[in-house]
Structures are given as C-alpha cells and as structure tokens.
Symmetry: C2
Subunit: 277 residues, 2 copies
C-alpha cells in the first residue's frame, strides 16, 4: 500500500492510498478519513460506495462527510467504483459500463472476469487491507452509498448481514436487472442467463430469502433518474413483503447530485453512528 | 444574466450564472447560494473571493459553506478570480498571473487594462447585478476569501469600510507587493512604479491610513506558502501599529487547501452572521 496524500481536516486525517489489487488485477485507489478519536484506539468503520462515473474522489470532494464523521468518531472508507487502467477492458464512450461502472459484481464473462471483481474487492480484499493498516474496529462496520453504490451497499449488506450493523442508501438503483442503465452491464459482466443476475439485484435477493434488519433510504423527488432507473417503490414492495423495515424519505425538490447527498449526509452518519456504538 | 444551473441543497438554492461583464469586457461566471430564509425577504450578503488558479466552482464544490449558510440565513456570492476567454491576454504556463490570478486589481498597463479590472467588477458591477436580481439586502454585506482572495477581501474592506460590516480571511497573502508569487503580477498589471501597488496591498493600505474595525484570520501552520508568500505576521504588525483589532488563529497542522478552508468555514460564517444581524 502506498500513501498518495494525507491532509488534516476537521481534526482528522483524509488520506488517499493505492495498492496492487489481486481481485482486480490492477492498481486500485481508495480514500480513508480517520477521525481524531482514532488516536485513542480503533474506531468503527463506515463504507461509502459511489455511483456511476465516480472515482474515490468525488464524494471526498463534494460529500461533506468529514465534519460529522469527526464529531461521531467514524472512519469513512471510499473505494473506487471499478478497476482502471490502459490494460483494463472498457467501453470508452459508455458511462454505464466498464470504467466507473463496476456495479460491485464479480464478472464471470470474458474479457471482464479478470478485472471486474468489485464484489470480492469490497467484501474481502479491501477490508483485510483496512484492518491491517488502519486503526479500524472491524467488529463494528456499516455500509452506505449512492445510486449504483447505494444499490451496492444494499446487496452487500443483504449477502453479509453478520458483518454490517447498518445499511443505508442515497437514491439507490432498486432493481438493476430490469433498469435500462444497468441491465446491459449485468448481461456483459454475468452473461445472458437472468438467473445469474439475481445475486446482484437487491429486490431479487430479498425475494430469494436474503434478509437485513432495516434500511434507511433517501430519494430526491426532482431526481431525473427516479422513474426509469431508481424506482424506490420496487424496494419498498420487496421490503414490505419480506418484513424488512425500510425508512424511505422522499425529499422534495432534490436531484441526483452531490447537492442532494451532502444535504442528507449528516442524517445518515448519525443514523449509522447510533447503530455502531 | 443567464442561469447556467440551479440545484436545491441544504434547503436553499445553489445557482451558477453568467453575464456579459462591462468591467472585464468578457463573459463572467459567478455562483450564488440563496438560503431558504430568502423566501421571507432579502437576506444579508457574504462575498467569498477565491485564491490563485480557482474559478467560482472550487469553493462551491469543496468549501462546505452551504449547511451553515442555510442555518444562518446568509447569501454567499462566489465570483471568478479573473477574466477568461480566448481573446483575454494571458500567460498560459504561469499560474501566478493572468487567468485565475486577477489579484482583484484594476490593471492600468497594456494589454491587461482592458480586461483585468477585477476590483471594479467585484466592488461595482457585480454588486449592482446581485442587488437587481437576487433577494439580497445590500445594506448588510460582509466579505471574506482565501489566499489571493483573502487578501482581496482585506483590501476591498479597507477601501470600502462603509459598505462591509465585517471582513475575514483564510490564509491571506499579507503583503503581495513584496512576496515572490504576487509582486511580478502587480508589476505587470500596474506598471513598474511601486507607489502604484500600494492601493492593492493590505499592509500598505493600513500604513497609508486606511482603516477597518476588525479582522478575523485563520492560518494553517503546515501551509507550504506560509513563510514566503503569506506571512501573517506582517498583517499582525500593521494592525497593531494602526490599532486595528486582528484575531489571528494559527491552526496546528493545517495546510493551504480546501481541507483547511472547509474545517474553519463554520467559524467564519458564524462570526460574520453575528455582525450582519
């Protein structure tokens, strides 16, 4: 692991790091905010998964999470959203696939299966690296994210309920296997058999019996992707049928951007902190 | 005036606008955050002047001012730092002069005098535009900024003490006429006679009799520009001799970046709000 940069901010340290990832067979970059409380011992860990087109840096620049994370004593991990590099198969002009669009799956199809293994990266490789190199209390983890990453958080929590104490999402894609901006990516990463997509679709994981105690979701009503791409009512329906507690806030006039995320960031951080303490 | 974008954020509206500027003889872009309180009538106005290399957008993305400005009911205006465009004389490889480096002066030297008129732009043209188009209470204005823009705020307040109720700065250049990264710019904008620079140098304005009731300044101790470029002790000395109240916080371990600015943004907003109410 190499340190790219560190800076003091809101009493803690915002760092950016790279390492040679085995899962993705390339160098991967990630950001870690270490709160001031870490000087006195390991602190709980909150994972933030970003959306389409983002790197680790977007939420670091625009998410406004550090002030409250420093107050609550939370370590915030912001991974990249896909493998990257000249040797990584990609579709340069397609923002919904390839670089910036890993969808947090382990691809099974050539030529993507060698690098696009973001599920293993986020659930196995990166946690091991964090546990070994940062003052992180890995017995207290939570996860959240935005859009593609909000969905990533839901699926990862549903598949690893013993690991995460809480899970929330900003404007998550509720059912990627039937949404126009995600279904083609699942097909390219996982092959044409729709059965193979179910392990990476939050609503279908719930229908297939996966459970998590509760979710918090915020969604802007002025979000241009609401009706075609995000459709929180599908998550609402799946949760209701499964008896999963879902708190869904429809936020009047908010869009899909970091303006929306930063506005409700404090709420989500406090919600997670309560469950991590 | 044209609206480039607006978005709801922290209960208010972050907008970006362009207009054909007479002062700068080119199109200029600026950002305005309108807090929710503006629905009930005009709100006080706080000007934020950015530093070298920045546009209106950097502090908008990374400054973390909106949550507290919405709470306090402050309108935040973030202008650009220079004229821009293909027809504007510039030194492409020089980040300390030309585009992104207007130094808030009215240039007198060819070929810069036609466009580099940021002092007139910030003190006359843009306030008129804001007063005419936004729910701004122009009888309650304050000003702050960072680095080159922190210095711009100090000089503009010293030259217009009747207009601004308060003035603060993050890591301001204290004496640009003798600092290596600013002296060459003053010479190119204002000519070789050092007497002509005094009107745009905060410490020399104070020595020449200009006054402002009090300043708040925050400065990081790990700021790489501290000793050669910023030198807050020169401002401290000038204020002490002139009987101007200066609150100077040296912030342990903070650098020159938006990590530093965002950390102390709330403090400055609250300080201004107290004086604007």
């Amino acid at each position: 692991m190499k340190t790219v940069s560190t800076a003091k901010v809101h009493g803690g340290v915002q760092g950016v790091y790279t390492h040679a990832s085995e899962s993705c067979a390339c160098d991967m970059t990630f950001a870690v905010f270490t709160p001031p409380q870490a000087e006195n011992g390991p602190v709980p860990v909150l994972w933030y998964l970003s959306g389409l087109t983002c790197t680790h840096a977007n939420v670091m620049d625009k998410g406004e999470y550090r002030r409250m994370a420093a107050e609550l004593g939370l370590m915030i991990i912001c991974p990249d959203t896909s493998p990257r590099g000249e040797t990584i198969p990609d579709e340069k002009d397609n923002w919904q696939f390839g670089s910036g669009a890993g969808f947090y799956v382990d691809a099974t199809q050539a030529p993507y299966a060698q690098n696009y293994r973001m599920y293993s990266y986020i659930t196995q490789e990166l946690p091991e690296l964090i546990g070994a190199n940062f003052p992180a209390d890995m017995s207290r983890q939570a996860i959240f994210g935005h859009s593609m990453g909000g969905h990533g958080a839901l699926t990862i929590a549903l598949k690893n309920p013993e690991r995460f104490r809480s899970c929330s999402a900003f404007a998550p894609i509720a059912q990627p296997s039937t949404a126009g901006w995600s279904q083609p990516a699942l097909e390219k990463y996982l092959g044409p058999d729709e059965k193979d997509w179910r392990a990476y679709d939050a609503t279908l994981l719930i229908r297939d019996g996966h459970r998590f105690p509760e979710f918090l979701v915020d969604q802007g009503t002025a979000d241009g992707f609401l009706d075609e791409g995000l459709r929180p009512w599908l998550l609402e329906e799946a949760c209701r049928e499964a008896g999963i507690s879902l708190t869904l806030h429809m936020r009047d006039g908010y869009d899909h951007s970091y303006n929306f995320i930063s506005t409700f960031m404090d709420d989500h951080l406090k919600w997670h902190a309560k469950r991590l303490k």
